[in-house]
Symmetry: C2
Amino acid sequence: MRGGEQSRGGSEDTPRGGPSTSRRGLLRGALIGTGGLVAGAAAGGATGWAVGSEPEPDTIDLGRKYPFYGEPHQGGIATPPQQHTVFASFRLADSAGPRDLQVLLARWSASIAVLQDGRTVGAVQPSSPVQPPRDTGEASGLSPAGLTVTLGLGPAVFGDRFGLARFRPARFTALPKLNGDTLDPALTGGDLSLQACADDPQVAYHAIRNLARIGRDAVVPYWSVLGFGRASAGPGQQTPRNLLGFKDGTRNVTTDEQYSRFVWLGREDQPWAEGGTYQVVRKIRMLLETWDTDRVGDQQQIIGRSKAEGAPLSGTTEFDTPDFAARTASGETAIDPKSHVALAAPEHNGGLMLHRRGYNYTDGLTADGSLDAGLLFVAYVNDPRNFVTLQNRLGANDLLNEYIRHIGSAIFLVPPAPAEGHYVGEALFT
Amino acid sequence: MRGGEQSRGGSEDTPRGGPSTSRRGLLRGALIGTGGLVAGAAAGGATGWAVGSEPEPDTIDLGRKYPFYGEPHQGGIATPPQQHTVFASFRLADSAGPRDLQVLLARWSASIAVLQDGRTVGAVQPSSPVQPPRDTGEASGLSPAGLTVTLGLGPAVFGDRFGLARFRPARFTALPKLNGDTLDPALTGGDLSLQACADDPQVAYHAIRNLARIGRDAVVPYWSVLGFGRASAGPGQQTPRNLLGFKDGTRNVTTDEQYSRFVWLGREDQPWAEGGTYQVVRKIRMLLETWDTDRVGDQQQIIGRSKAEGAPLSGTTEFDTPDFAARTASGETAIDPKSHVALAAPEHNGGLMLHRRGYNYTDGLTADGSLDAGLLFVAYVNDPRNFVTLQNRLGANDLLNEYIRHIGSAIFLVPPAPAEGHYVGEALFT
């Protein structure tokens, strides 16, 4: 390819250099050579966790819009993962009372509906020059970009301060200290959360910035993460990769039955929260230079999957069901019992699953020139104890712990979506 | 739009709610109401600076590829601006000698060619399990995404240490202290630069990460910025907006004649650098909360343009030529002489222009909950004095200075692109 010639079509997906080194080719061919580790491979076959293995499209459609009102659930949970996110945790101002909280939720809801529709939250250029702009303007001219904003309520919302204690689900408390936690207090907790996801990061940033501005009488921004690359699979999408270079989210919650069982809240405890869920957010720094010097055999043992294909080390293709009993020719288990896949597997945790919706992040470089980057892990669960159980297990045993640090953490209750003309959490004030 | 219905087509670009509040509609209609400021508007008309006003397409084509070899110039300068960037400045290791620098440039060049072609820089999963992966893997399966990587050489490269002093263009030195500088030493300078631009940020991040790794015997990463939103217009594209909410780059270098006159180096001083350019990088923090409370009339006076349309305050549409003599009905100049547009105008600077290629960035929040965000300003010029002149003028007088802080700064010489089988800067070693 010379002299200014450019490939513009989506059809050219096998770059020169041969499929063995093509980035897209890596995902197409069957895996050959997992280092000779596997002897008695599992039969594989379809499972409830299999998501589609359609290739990722070569174009991103920025015209997509998602409705905010009248859905059973808020967007940004089961919505096919958009390319980018901006997550923000907020603290309620000391002066904020029940009425301020109510007004905040109503204003945020109305504004989110407008933003998801691809509109500004007011005039970018008011007709009177003495008025500040209502909308900050940087998304003007941009498409809706599939924006969703997910609004969560922290544990403090249900304290005595707001008179809402009777609405608190019994299981909803701040997360306890978990095995392996090395949390930075400046990245931990919060009273409200906004997770904006979009296929254009400027649309997501604009949403968070304007919602923060709209809420400034009631809340103070606390911590925030921009996620630049999607790291969890959605239905029918190729599984993206996290910064460890491994596919992330192969065995994710994808079917309605799984969502119903593991994600959406029912009526049993607090009827008002039916259709909601819990949002668990963890900022996980990865020690990438150390990881990058590790031999690929170790990396695969730590994860429990092959690096190129993402197949469990007991199998050959990504969606093969892991066979934790399979053994190599030399008699060892093909999948290390302390590997990430083994410890997190539903088979070893009473069947439980988390719905993960993570994004890669970077904070640039540390003072010594190391990459300051990792994973913004976001999980949706209908029982916080499931996350606690799983993370305590991983935090105590996971071979991966040498390479990661959990530095941020928070939990929020995400209420169901409101009907048209109503707002998130309205049931708490009636 | 209810009950799961989604708009998927690129055709629906007038969201409900009326064109007056549609984000895309804002750019379509003629501007009405600049606050009554303008009386004798300029005639406008076509100028050399006019870029197209085609609407931004609703899809992003990730299949695009740009060649690295055999071009007159490196990519990422005149290339239509991609959506995302990762910029990194590196310091040469204390132990690095001329041979290390040469090997670095050769290895980086070969790797950039492979990356721009959509390939990995080596095996993601080596056949031997005791080898670390050659490529870190997170871009496997991703499209080329229009990646360009621009390699720059800092002033220290041309010092006595490498025996290259005779190749230094007379005008190439570190930037002097400029009016208004409040630089953080940790974000200032560097011996080599890599600017990766792509329509998928994970592709750009992967490029910088792997090039840093490939160069680790010779260079140490110094400072780095992820730009999440393009903030400079390219030819035929709508002008994007920076985080002040204003269009940025309306009067950018776009024609071959302008590139030739203001951007590309000729043979006069150092023949080896012909077709190269200087890269000036400034990390500019914006004090967004303060800006957002300012009345729109003040914002427009500070910039010299209307907020919605981006028209000079002497005119009505974006590409009207500013008329700095035009006066309002009350007799004041329509465009404030201390506005950003007036101070930076070629008309007031002996005709000089910079080619700007900026991106919006965010570093999250400050400790007090303020937005930590701004503009990664990147300019390409064939004479560093032009930037110095202009920035000293802006830094001393610009009404905008109340709302921005220049916190990072560096300058690099970007050599021309190599022929196939050669490398950037090879002329320095022959």
